[in-house]
Amino acid sequence: MGELRLMKGNEAIAEAAIRAGCDAYFGYPITPQSEIIEYLAAEETHKRTGMVLLQAESEIAAINMVYGAASTGKKVMTSSSSPGISLKQEGISYIAGAELPCLIVNVVRGGPGLGTIQPSQADYFQATKGGGHGDYRLIVLAPASVQEMSDFVKLAFDLAFKYRNPAMILSDGMIGQMMEKVELFDPVPRNTEFDQSWVITGKTADRERNIITSLHLESASMEKHNQELQKKYIQMQEQEVRIEKIQCEDAEFLFVAYGSSARICQKAVDLARAEGIKTGLLRPQTLFPFPTKEIEKMAGQVKGILTVELSMGQMVEDVRLAVNGKIKVEFYGRAGGMIPTPEEVLKAMKQKIIGG
């Protein structure tokens, strides 16, 4: 068994990054995720593992530092919260276009605009549908516990390097700030060997020069690049979908929720079953790739689906696409940092699905 600790979600991300052999972190403070850079600073990562830590002058600078460091094959990350992630979008688009592996953590807060520092899930569209310009996808992981905040750091780096694609951990202020028991994985050493086929570390005599760019001025070349990116995204959809199913075996009504909302729905499932209503929960752990097939399959079993989000309804669109009109799909959500209770969620299930 790994080391057990009581940690904040944000701290778990930082500790996991060090243990995953992360080479560099570049970031800019923003609530509610500043504990990540503070924890790394307190750990003196340059002494502990040699990991570079730099507080940049802006989120824009930070994501471009990630672009540079990732170009050399290093395992690099940044973190921010919603307004800061908006600022990073140009850089994220370049990173996706240049096919660089990296980790971006978004501890989501309420918006739009400066919004609120309270938890939210209103950045689902931004994270899963592109966010920046151009046809690209991030690998998006949605932790629902402090344990997953730690575990998904390692998973995100593995997937990012497997596909040479940026990966995002889409968390929120609730999981970032809450403290839970976490079992930390054993540290892995930082990488010292680099895949010379694409990294820029200086052109040696035995290979052609390597170029990191997202520029394809000729239309045919640009289209080909887009087609190759799509192949990668399709492969992710086929191989990397991850979900958790809770009490789904005999469920007649289904909650679909991720992250913080899933925690609330899990309790609502228990409350419903105590009343004799057979509900279950399907929790996507990957938001891209989205568990379309898994939800479609459940649509053949249950009578209706309630999607619960801390937003005005975003993931529900993907759930409806998966269900494709087969059964009723309704939405319940709160915004701006308002958190629904399990009773509130169950009431919505009864009103919108069971009685509706």
Binding site: A61, M65, K203, L215
Partner: protein
Amino acid sequence: MEIKDIIKEENLVYSKTKLLTDTTLTYCPGCGHGVAHRLLMEVIEEMNIREDTIGISPVGCSVFAYDFMDIDMAQAAHGRAPAVATGIKRCWPDKFVFTYQGDGDLAAIGTAETIHACNRGENFTIIFINNGIYGMTGGQMAPTTLPGMKSSTTPFGRDVSLMGNPIKITELVAQLPGTYFVSRQAVHKPANVRKAKKAIRTAFEVQQQKKGLSFVEIVSNCNSNWKMTPIQSNQWMEENMFPYYPIGDIKIEGKLIKTN
């Protein structure tokens, strides 16, 4: 002695460095970019550091610098080259890293990245090409466009009461403690080319010594957008750009040079 007797391998004293590819430069005839590219590659060749050198190209006319420089390179978002270089250099402190940026890239959209990389004393080299105009997008006003100078967005000349004054960003970064060597040069005449090369060499040696940021501005022409012949543009540059952007070293070994 016949010409054919002179043209022999053993008598060759100057030819294009092999660190430039054979791809024809996409720059306009007479553009200073070509000379600046060549000087950079000559310095890297002479210092024998290609295996440890990483370059960053900007957005602007020189976005395709990686097509011409036969070294490992990354292409940066508009203005972000100093941040990209910071990411690389922090991870690889023993490598040589340079950015190659124009005036719009470095002194307008990328001002924050420029100032903060300089202020932190990041140990890389910035090559700054200042031709007082946006070249690639077709001759719009740059932060460095001179007062009264015409551009496609200041067709009647830059009115400083509306557009502000041209920014002397090189003097500005020289004030920051993180810069160790700051110089302004030109590449339009043989003597200038030789001095510019010396400045670039010094800049890379500063990296070798890990002394901090080295910054070389090259005041250059944009004859196409200035709507002049190459020769006329160089003359106009001497008469108009040099009084505002005087040529010479600004900071050596971390100390500002006193000027009158």
